[in-house]
């Protein structure tokens, strides 16, 4: 039995991301390093044989997921509910925490100009943020940071996957282009009906 096959079987059987350490539990001979190497081999094999799925890293976990281009086919099935889209207030608060991590409630509210306590409670309940320590100031305020769940929700490896502030305009430009390209395709499919 090759290491790659044990790792592959384990990844296939899981519905959630698994860390290299967790995968290594499948067999005594496995350690995190050999798991990571096996994952790289598998990734290359899937790429080479044009599999419809690939191994993605989400936070410090790995998960087999279908490639994005198959989404239109899968969306035709009666599917389990998708992860809810986050509200604008939640996204705004997460954006601040992700870039200012760790940060206290007061500082979040100063940036947003509105109260953050109820949205923070929701984000804590969803485990998208967590208390990561206490600040120095009066009353030693709680400091918040984003979690593994945050990385999983947004499909990120780690926080450095997010663009640096000075790259933002470039990244936004690319997003905009991608969206416009998609919209153009959708428009074409709608047989010439013009959407302003």
């Amino acid at each position: 039995m090759k290491v790659e096959q044990i790792v592959e079987a384990t990844l296939f059987a899981s519905q959630t991301p698994l860390t290299a350490d967790e995968i290594a539990r499948a067999d005594e001979v496995l350690v995190a390093e050999s798991v990571v190497a096996a994952i790289q081999t598998l990734r290359d094999e899937y790429e080479g044989s044009e599999r419809a799925f690939q191994i993605y890293q989400l936070g410090d976990g790995y998960q087999v997921l279908t490639r994005p281009e198959y989404a239109p086919y899968l969306e035709r099935f009666d599917s389990v509910p998708r992860a809810p889209h986050l509200s604008p207030a939640a996204l705004e608060t997460l954006a601040i925490i992700a870039y200012r991590n760790p940060i206290g409630r007061i500082e979040i509210e100063e940036v947003r100009g509105v109260s953050a306590s109820s949205v923070l409670r929701t984000l804590l309940d969803w485990e998208l943020v967590a208390v990561v320590g206490r600040g120095e100031g009066l009353g030693r305020p709680l400091l918040y940071g984003v979690t593994q769940m945050f990385l999983e929700h947004f499909g990120l490896k780690d926080l450095s996957d997010l663009p640096a502030p000075d790259e933002l305009p470039v990244v936004l430009g690319e997003l905009q282009e991608a969206m416009e390209a998609e919209a153009a395709v959708a428009d074409a499919e709608e047989a010439g009906e013009e959407v302003i």
């Binding site: 994005p68 947003r112 997003l175 991608a178």
Partner: protein, 267 residues
């Protein structure tokens, strides 16, 4: 998504187009940024009087219907704008430092807020991209075939062999009164609750957390009692495999059973 994304939606200088609903805005900074960006105003030279007028006018109609906290947030910004407007009317030195411009702090906050709006768009893009990947089990498919009912060929010996595997006695936990007993009724109640949420429950679950024989025996008697009432089926694929309790047809408490025994306790 966010109004600030709609830069250039109305580039004309008239203030008429700003009949906007406050519901669209996350807060006062969001509204203010919308007013500035949608009129192509130079953020480093905000015409405070005009913006203040527009801001206050937008508030007027909806303020009363707003929750008090949210209204306070908008009013605080209105007060800030009015204060800045007043300061601008005061005589200033010939070559004013930008740092001394009463608008400087507001501009800094607006730019910071706008920066995070950009981050929000990045996150939305990431969320949408992630939504195009599917894991195992995403497609619901057909309803799972009903598990074939298994006759209760389980012997008491099989059951008790599970009980015998429990280490005796579990490390004493001080909190439990030494004479603490568990009743069959409590296990019946637990079992009904678990089966109310899931179609099947592992037998282990009914006693393993407590780790004492008393709990295992009470769980066993509770399972047999509910099986007798046809409220559940007991299933074991082969001897010594896991024992599963499957929700039966008559899960509802039969008439005549004291409801106190099946409820979690008085509310």
């Amino acid at each position: 998504m966010s109004p600030s994304a709609q830069v250039g939606e109305g580039t004309h200088r008239s203030i008429e187009p700003f009949q906007v609903s406050l519901e669209r805005f996350e807060g006062p900074l969001d509204l203010l940024l919308h007013l500035i960006r949608s009129q192509d105003i130079d953020i480093f030279d905000i015409p405070i009087a005009r913006i203040t007028e527009q801001f206050v006018r937008t508030l007027e109609d909806e303020l009363e219907a707003m929750p008090i906290e949210r209204a306070g947030e908008f009013l605080e910004m209105a007060a800030t704008l009015v204060r800045i407007k007043a300061q601008l009317l005061l005589p200033r030195p010939e070559q004013p430092d930008w740092e001394e411009d009463p608008r400087a702090e507001l501009v800094r906050r607006l730019l910071e807020y706008e920066h995070f709006q950009d981050v929000v768009h990045v996150l939305e893009g990431a969320e949408a991209q992630r939504g195009r990947h599917f894991g195992k089990g995403y497609v619901a498919g057909r309803p799972a075939p009903a598990l074939a009912p298994v006759e209760l060929e389980l012997t008491l010996a099989d059951f008790l062999s599970v009980v015998a595997r429990i280490p005796e006695p579990a490390p004493p936990v001080e909190i439990r009164p030494p004479s603490q007993t568990v009743t069959v009724e409590e296990k019946v109640s637990l079992l009904r609750r678990l089966l109310g949420k899931a179609k099947r429950v592992s037998f282990d679950r009914l006693f393993r957390p407590w780790g004492t024989r008393a709990h295992a025996v009470a769980a066993l008697l509770a399972a047999l009692e509910l099986a007798r009432q046809q409220a559940l089926r007991i299933e074991q694929v082969k001897p010594f495999a896991s024992i599963w309790l499957l929700s039966g047809d008559r899960l509802r408490p039969p008439a005549g059973v004291d409801s106190d025994e099946t409820a979690e306790g008085p509310e």
